[in-house]
Symmetry: C2
Subunit: 346 residues, 2 copies
């Protein structure tokens, strides 16, 4: 069984409505959900969504404070111990929940995860991984924003974390790894990517070498590692291109009578395709390398995406993600270089 999934009731563009809707959807399927946030607000939202008694699998854990978006709030997060993020992660630390999901301030979740849960031995910088819904199957890109700057050995650690996640949680057999770079030759890129290429090549992982931006979408590797700056830009560029392309398709399909008729006939097939390529199908991004199961969802998630995030977290708990990661990165090449400095920049 998947234990209890704690979810931040106060984080995200459409909080608390989208969160409560998603929590209800997941709880009705039998997943035990702890909804963390202002009790009065969350109860009111529950009644609006469903005047009947909520399922017994859903309970509210009160948190009187909610951390806003932005860097400033992230910096304050450590001292705001009544916030929904603090209390949610505290539940995981105490073993009262087995995973925490938030759509809120990424920097705050990252910083508090480090403080309250700590890191897996052998991992200096936990990374945020985003699952890209490529039609041929999921591709995990990490880091997508937790660490704006990394060293080559961090990239090698990201590779280990990513491979373990794809194998255990996403069910990919023997996942391959690529290093995001600006050319396929091992000598391409910056001194850091050249050094990282050597480290990962010697890691024993199934390394396919450097991968260019376009090759992510050709599924050149199951796991693509990058510094958090580049990974974040890739993620947001992808969202931007997908959004504008579908928006232009809609415009084209309304431009003439003939196009309107065509669009109407094509719509069911396009909708299936759009769903297949929708990043919301995987719900949330795992924060890999912290000593606990933590997922950060897209701020724009709707209720259905929130439910997917909770489901993904439940699968991760079922598959013993925390233990598997600890085992997978047990013999890092870089453990001698342990460093205490970490930062959240996303």
């Amino acid at each position: 069984m998947s234990g209890v999934i704690a979810i931040d009731g106060m984080g995200g563009d459409d909080a608390p409505a989208a969160i409560v809707a998603g929590a209800l959807e997941a709880a009705r399927e039998g997943i035990e959900v702890a909804l963390v946030g202002d009790q009065a607000i969350l109860e009111r939202e529950l009644i609006i969504l469903d005047p009947a008694k909520p399922p017994s699998t859903l309970r509210i854990v009160h948190a009187s404070d909610a951390i806003e978006m932005g860097d400033h709030a992230a910096l304050e997060a450590r001292t705001r111990r009544d916030s929904s993020i603090y209390i949610g992660l505290q539940l995981v630390r105490r073993g009262e929940a087995q995973a925490f999901v938030s759509l809120g301030n990424t920097g705050a979740v990252y910083a508090l995860s480090l403080v309250l849960l700590g890191r897996i031995k052998g991992i200096e910088r936990p990374a945020l991984g985003a699952v890209f819904p490529i039609p041929s199957g999921p591709v995990l890109v990490l880091d997508v924003g937790a660490n704006a700057e990394v060293r080559p050995n961090h990239l090698e650690q990201f590779a280990r974390l990513g491979v373990a996640y794809m194998r255990e949680v996403m069910g990919v057999r023997d996942p391959s790894v690529g290093l995001l770079n600006i050319g396929e030759e091992p000598t391409k890129g910056t001194p850091d990517t050249i050094a990282a290429n050597e480290l990962i090549a010697a890691s024993g992982l199934r390394f396919v070498g450097n991968v260019e931006g376009r090759q992510i979408f050709e599924h050149a590797a199951d796991v693509v590692v990058a510094d958090g700056f580049t990974g974040n830009v890739v993620l947001k560029t992808t969202e931007g291109v997908v959004d504008i392309t579908f928006s232009e398709i809609r415009k084209a399909a309304n431009s003439t009578l003939r196009a309107k008729l065509g669009g109407m006939l094509l719509r069911p097939a396009l909708r299936g395709m759009a769903q297949k390529m929708d990043y919301r199908q995987y719900g949330a991004a795992p924060l890999l390398g912290v000593d606990g199961v933590v997922f950060i969802g897209h701020g724009r998630s709707d209720g259905h995406a929130v439910a997917n995030a909770i489901r993904t977290a439940a699968v991760a708990v079922d598959r013993r993600l925390r233990e598997v990661l600890t085992e997978s990165v047990g013999t890092p090449a870089s453990s001698a270089e342990q460093s205490g400095t970490t930062e959240a920049n996303a």
Copy 2:
């Protein structure tokens, strides 16, 4: 008049066929074209494409050597003085041509441009700019791969170059500039992007601040500056997403009889949209900051894209790009920091 445009007859995936076709198309419109490469090969290709006498605006300049793709060839480029890239740039240096266009080895074109043409005063690192065909109008992203690593003052120089290019060649009135970053707040990103944000904010340019990957496609700025590593990843990610999206649309439009009919009716409207979003409409990427007009085209360009590249170069010459850039960057904040180190990594 636009002077003579020299084009590398030997560079690109479909060279020389695509190059000769494009050169013919442009020359027939009255643009004077110097086709640089192996005379026998180019003449044979000309006869295949058009058995009649070629237009008087087209001439062949013989070059017995052709530089292959790859880092190794780029490193050798300086010593291979019979190559089509060397001889083409030599024509510009001597004033026998006013611009050079190549679809070949980016690293070689970059290195030889520095050697043969030099840099504009005030510019330490020339940058490769890519025009993104956003439906609301062109957006220039630079650098997209000439410099894998840059300092903050280089980013400020890119901003000046980009603004001048968009204003003079693309006809954008008072172009705005954004800094590619992983958040909108000025404190986001790496120490280098934070410093660059300050420099550009103080530059007197119309600076809109940090721009995230998705905002490129919302046209948040006319010019988006980035280090060459991130810019290259953005360019290739965009190509990857566009390719996979259209490939999936084609699949969806063949999935059922109903979808097939819809696709047939929608096709003309979608084709118009695809053309509007096709990077080939602008033909080639300007190498901004070298003391001469140089464009680097996409290796996969077809004849029509090659003709567009030549047309764009001719417009740049007409609008006196070289002189305008020299004037625009005449008072750089960073001229005290002149450095001789340059490198080509793309």
